[in-house]
């Protein structure tokens, strides 16, 4: 790491963290609204409609409700673990936003090991889910936590392999540099050279963020609500926000790695980045409202028997081509 620790850089990081927190909070509201509208339109319903014009204040009302609710802990739950879990789920996610280059100027912390930082801190999420399921002393929670651990650990590997393929190709772990290696036109993006890596990354990202059709840790028709069965109020709200924040991170990284980041055919800037991220987020929602849920053994089979070998092959092929 070449970032020298100075007052300026610390201030920069702190400011960035505050900015990220605001960004995540606002995005949480926006995405909840978008998710419900997408679900509504796909199902030929209006979706949220009553609170504010076209229901745009629905998410705000929900957030206020969650904040206003009493914090309830089951009698036999472990208080420390029970309350640590939502905090641990939410705050590390903020760190993940730091190295993401929204635009050349709008980067929280331009560190040359940005990819590594994201992958490392993303591992916190699984710990939070495990603590939530274990600490709430609920059998459904426990089953959900067990699923979450097995799933997250498994899907991290192909995710890493896909990322490595890009890192090999670009020869750097800095996100800014990776974007710099791509052009503005769609055919200059990494997705053209690495379509398989993109597919593996995106599927693994669905698995990592517990999104349908891989939402097994919470699978409400099997485990009622899985790891967060016992959470209500802001306890639940934190998990909820963390899920959306994780989605944004996954889509952002995907944009940086494969879709040219902030670069576009004209007028490069953060708007291109955001447009691409929201496009990916919308497709995640689209998947959720289209597909049934896979079974747990199928989920793991998909990973170990398809994504992992394909990821390895892709990485070897990339290495081979790069060597040439």
């Amino acid at each position: 790491m070449n970032a020298t620790i100075s007052f300026d850089s610390v201030l920069h990081v702190v400011l960035a963290l505050v900015g990220v927190a605001v960004f995540v909070g606002l995005n949480g509201l926006l995405l909840v609204y978008a998710e419900r509208k997408v679900a509504g339109f796909i199902q030929r319903r209006p979706g949220p409609y009553e609170v504010g014009p076209q229901g745009i204040l629905q998410a705000v009302a929900d957030a206020l409700k969650l904040i206003g609710k009493q914090l309830v802990r089951p009698d036999r739950a472990d208080p420390l673990l029970f309350w640590m879990a939502p905090v641990l789920a939410f705050f590390p996610v903020l760190l993940l936003f730091l190295p993401i280059p929204f635009s050349p100027l709008l980067t929280g912390w331009d560190v040359n090991l940005g990819l590594l930082l994201i992958l490392a801190f993303a591992g916190f999420n699984v710990l939070a889910l495990l603590l939530a399921g274990w600490g709430s002393n609920n059998k459904y929670g426990l089953l959900g936590a067990a699923r979450a651990v097995a799933q997250s650990v498994a899907y991290e590997i192909p995710l890493l392999l896909a990322v490595l393929a890009i890192a090999f190709q670009e020869g750097t772990l800095s996100l800014t540099a990776i974007v710099g290696g791509q052009g503005g036109m769609p055919w200059q993006w990494n997705i053209v050279v690495q379509p398989l890596a993109f597919l593996i990354f995106f599927v693994s990202a669905l698995g990592e963020t517990n999104r349908a059709p891989f939402d097994l840790p919470e699978a409400e028709s099997e485990l009622t609500a899985g790891f967060h069965t016992e959470y209500s109020g802001m306890g639940f709200g934190m998990f909820f926000l963390a899920e959306y924040a994780n989605m944004i991170v996954a889509c952002s990284v995907c944009t940086v790695l494969f879709l040219g980041g902030w670069k576009g055919p004209f007028l490069d800037g953060a708007w291109w980045f955001l447009a691409k991220v929201y496009g990916l987020l919308l497709s995640m929602m689209w998947f959720r409202w289209t597909y049934p849920r896979v079974r747990f053994d199928q989920l793991l089979n998909l990973n170990w028997r398809w994504l992992l070998p394909l990821g390895v092959l892709n990485l070897l092929a990339t290495a081979f081509v790069m060597k040439l």
Binding site: G40, F41, R44, P46, Y49, W286, T290
Partner: protein, 210 residues
């Protein structure tokens, strides 16, 4: 190798699914936005709402009911309670005639109780809308209302004084011109929503027409 191709073909089904939901996404919704819109009166016409009394053709405020109690005994859930109208006090002439008859040793002719209900209460919270009372009524004095949007906030809201309800309805009928009365068959029973008058039936797009 063949299995890989089959897998690819299977994966295509996922794309097809996305195509279908994507297409539906672009189509307009089918929800009827109650209370801004309501189902058409035609769609409500066959609905069996809480029962109501039917008035005489000559005097719509008075029920056809003859207080025969058939509905009370036919009801499986005991939700109807009817009492006969009290026997009127004999007039002085009648009293005189009765006294004379008694004096003659005949059976005095007492005034008969009127063939009309004194009270007619109906507890909708018990009713299963089976229609037994409607079918059994010998004078067709009971019918189903078309109240689709009836709401109440407490249990007592669903105990109707049917005679009062009929009277109110007849009064409301008189008040509004005939054509409008047809559009809003339920005018002003207490728990009936105001929307059935203020809403604009006919503008709605019910699911049946989608």
């Amino acid at each position: 190798m063949a299995s890989i191709f089959r897998t690819l073909a299977d994966l295509w089904s996922l794309v097809v699914g996305l195509g279908i939901t994507g297409k539906q996404f672009c189509k307009p919704g089918v929800t009827v936005h109650y209370p801004r819109a309501e189902v058409t009166p035609e769609a409500a016409a066959s609905f069996r709402g809480p029962i109501e009394l039917i008035g005489l053709d000559k005097d719509p405020a008075k029920p056809k009911c003859i207080a025969c109690m058939l509905c009370v005994s036919a009801c499986p859930s005991n939700c109807i309670a009817v009492t006969r109208a009290p026997t009127p006090k004999p007039t002085p002439e009648e009293l005189k005639a009765m006294a004379e008859a008694e004096a003659r040793g005949e059976k005095p002719k007492k005034p008969a109780p009127p063939k009309a209900p004194g009270t007619w209460t109906y507890d909708f919270s018990l009713c299963s809308l089976c229609g037994s009372c409607v079918e059994v009524c010998p004078v067709d004095s009971i019918g189903f209302s078309r109240d689709i949007y009836m709401v109440g906030t407490k249990r007592e809201d669903f105990v109707f004084d049917q005679l009062a309800r009929l009277a109110r309805k007849a009064a409301a009928r008189k008040a509004v011109p005939k054509a409008e009365a047809k559009a809003a068959p339920e005018a002003a029973p207490p728990p009936a929503p105001a929307s059935s008058e203020s809403g604009a039936p006919g503008t709605a797009t019910p699911a049946s027409e989608a």
